[in-house]
Amino acid sequence: MKRRGEWVSAFIFLLPLLFTLAVAFIYAFVRTVYFSFTDYNLFHITKFVGLDNYTQLFADYRFVLALTHSLVYAIVVTASQTFLALLLAVVLNQKIRGLTFFRASYYVPSVASSVAITLIFIWLMNRKGTINWILTMLGRYWPLIITGLALVILVQWFQVFSERRHGLPARAFDPALLGISLLIGAVVTTILGRFGIVHLYPMVDVAIPWLTTRKMFLGIPLPLLSIMMLNIWTTTPTMMLLLLAGLQDVPQELYEAAEMDGATPGQKLFHVTVPAIRPLLFMVITMGLIGTLQVFDQVAITAGVAPLESTITLAYYVYWNMFGSGGLPKVGMASAAALVLAALTLVIVFIQRRLGFSEKGWYS
């Protein structure tokens, strides 16, 4: 009797979740599967079309493009953001001054609305936007910048060398000496520039159309690459926060033991830190893959500016079939594409686990 009571109360607690799961997932999924075999257009189902939607899908050049874009996007963005997040997390796990400030400011891009950020990005990436302006300035001033950097390194090296010769323990990046080096570098560079000893390049306006183009870079359309950079920038901090939480649980003794054995910082990172936070890395990579395979909002907002063929991804292809063409929604095609996307996500996560990025920890 008591056991039944327990069962009932457990069921009652589970009910809200089961209900939402049943409505928002199972019901929707079953309907999507059903629609993918029909020519439903939101208003009439006229007939069953069997596998027609699926064969049409693979005959549609937009779908093939969307599929390739989604795969490239998922792999490049997940790999970059995981790597960057790990680096950032390791750096921010040190005892450095102003730690809270850095952690907070790195996290800002993740907190801001992705729609707002995308709009700002479109604006920065205009043909006469800030990014092209910075490139223009670099194009003009790079001789000075290189000269300045070389001078600073030279002066710093000279100072450290002479300090050490006098038996003083000077570090390579000693702040006081670096200050002097920067000052000397800046003054000398300014003089060289002023008297025309270092030549400036004539002002050439860089006007790369980042978004309104069909140019490719390494086989990836430039607009898609722009969205990738944006996405890496906005999601890296979230991933960093997760990894940071993991890093703080790594037992300090492991590092001490590694140091006793004479491990270098690089060896400590790859042989102590990474294995220790493996479960979290698995989560970060899985979330990254699922999130990037379903990328939609950035693409939808950029769609007003960039050519469809240069940005379309699977999730946007689904939307485009529903509302993008200006005709009646092609629910059948959209459902079929959505199911392909779901299957693809499952397969990729499965492959990822097979390759060893699984939740097994270092102690197993």
Binding site: L42, F43, H44, D60, Y61, R62, N126, R127, K128, P209, T212, T213, R214, K215, V305, P307, L308, E309, M322, F323, G324, S325, G326, G327, L328, P329
Partner: protein, 415 residues
Amino acid sequence: MRKILLALVIVGLVVGVGLVGFGQDKVTIRLAGYSGDTPLMQDVLSRFVADKIPGVEVVWEPITEDFLAFVLRTLSAGTAPDVFYVDLGWAKTVAGTGLVEPLDDYMASSAILNKGDLIPALENAFTFDGKIYAISKDFNSLVMFYNKDMFDEMGVAYPSDDDTWVTFLGKIAMVNNQPNKWYGACINADAARFLPFAFAAGMPFLKDDGTGPFDLASAKQAADWYTSFNRLGISATSADIGAGWPGAAFISEQAATCIEGGWLIPPIRNENPTLNFGTTFLPSPWEGGPHSNYLFTVGYAMPTSPASGRPDLAFKVIEILTSPEVQNYILESGHAIPSRAALLDSAYFQQKDDFAQATKKVFEATALPGTVPFTFGEIGQGVYMGAVGEALTLIMQGEGTVEEAMNEANAKLSQ
């Protein structure tokens, strides 16, 4: 027992008050339109509609998402507003759902809005299979706006109705004052601006066999000319100038000309009222050639089963919104040209100021031969406009030749 009685009394009171309150409730008629129309529509609703129909409260719902997506989504879910905008570009798609109410019977029994009151072309535009599905609220077309001061300063003759593509290109080249001041024009890779020129050059909407027309010589000539301004550097896109749209570049005096419709007039009046400007027809491809144009019109439509359950009241709202008083008011604000035939000789058109003259020009442009209401049939508006828009972008940026880009656009259309 007493407690139960008390509870019953309380329940009775609540239900009673609720029923009385319900009985006095006004019927809410939801009216959905473009969010950009909010100031105008709120003004019109408070001036002309509020309290005019007893027991009715009209609520304006500005829609920020893609409007066609909104209409299709709400129609299929049965939550469509009582009255909503329908753009001619996708009217046929929406009427084809079978969930939009034909308005013939309402018009037949109406005292103020009957068949024949509207300009015939606009009434026909929303008529499919013999039934009228929307009441055109106003219409618009494209004209060339030019900044008189800039033409004077550069000593160039104003654009005129007699300009051909060649003479117009020459004028823009001469009025262009770069690198420091203004561009000769602000032209975007926009299908809706380009298509009138292609039609003037003789391109049909589709070829007779139903395939795309973009690989025809006329389409390619128009694309070559339309993109030549930006390729020659005498014009820029609004994004290059840092303006939201070509009209904004014109208002801020960064471009000497732009191709826009009557909707540019209110922002000029609000943001740069001293701008010394004129308007002319779009240039024609050859001397004495056609000026073909694009007729923009938006109408009011109703769903077959409105949420309020009162289509009669919804139609009353449409009656007021398309009444002569409201249309004249909108005309004088410069927003659009009335769809009622009787208002076409409105006194406003006789006024001499720049704004009234510009409105008159836009109106005259709609009457030019070759200006037809434009309905996208089987091929969706998004596919048609998207294909040619992308081709124009490629040509403007020198990433493809006219030949390649237009052939590719045509191939996309046939997919």
